[in-house]
Symmetry: C2
Subunit: 139 residues, 2 copies
């Protein structure tokens, strides 16, 4: 999660909502990404989406069964839907997203095969997002 | 929808699940795409996702409020979640997807601002998908 936090910090510095993600396969980081919706002018350019695409590209496979995605914030419905298609083995997220997190939907969005862990480095993950919106309001 | 069907036919010819999408803004087609999950080895490369990215790129805006997406098959949860972020004005789809369509989720996935029409050219849209899977089974 520390590596995902580094990615989130890059987003923060770039004026993006600070979310970072990495994909790990066999103890190796095979993809890293941060939210780039502003820079790419693309609402789909969430950290998770970019990390999924990069990981699939690295492995040469649409499926990420043996991978773990670490992401600083709970994925939204779009990202959870994308993770479903990859059949990813595990998702680990830091802070919960009570506004747009995928767990707001009662019917499952992730694949039944996907294990989920959350609350890892929660405070640090949450702090970045809170600080981002605090500064935005002060502008 | 005829233009979206042309895109779906391209996917069919390329051995991809035949789904096509176009984005229209002020009576002009500003983006067209077909499913490219196999060619790009990327589970996120659905026709809608590629069309959203292309349309946002064309307009220089993350938001597609004044746009209509025409897609041959009902969007999945990922694509509906993506369409939510764009606040797209209208979504028109042809065939329903009873396996993975976004309407399987009882809680809304699309934005409340988004108007939805479906069943347009339904038979032609559905035919392509059925034919694709029929041929796949025969291989």
């Amino acid at each position: 999660m520390q590596e995902a936090l580094k990615e989130a910090a890059k987003a923060f510095d770039a004026g993006e909502i600070p979310v970072g993600a990495i994909v790990v396969c066999q103890n190796k980081i095979i993809a890293r990404a941060h939210n780039q919706t502003e820079m790419l002018t693309d609402a789909t350019a969430h950290a998770e989406m970019l990390a999924i695409t990069a990981a699939a590209n690295y492995l040469g496979s649409k499926y990420l069964n043996d991978c773990t995605l670490y992401v600083t914030l709970e994925p939204c419905a779009m990202c959870a839907g994308a993770l479903h298609w990859t059949q990813i083995g595990r998702v680990v997220f830091g802070a919960s997203d009570t506004q747009r997190g995928y767990r707001l939907w009662q019917q499952p969005l992730l694949h039944t095969k996907t294990a989920v862990t959350f609350g890892i480095d929660e405070k640090a993950c949450q702090h970045l997002v809170l600080e981002f919106f605090k500064r935005l309001r002060e502008k």
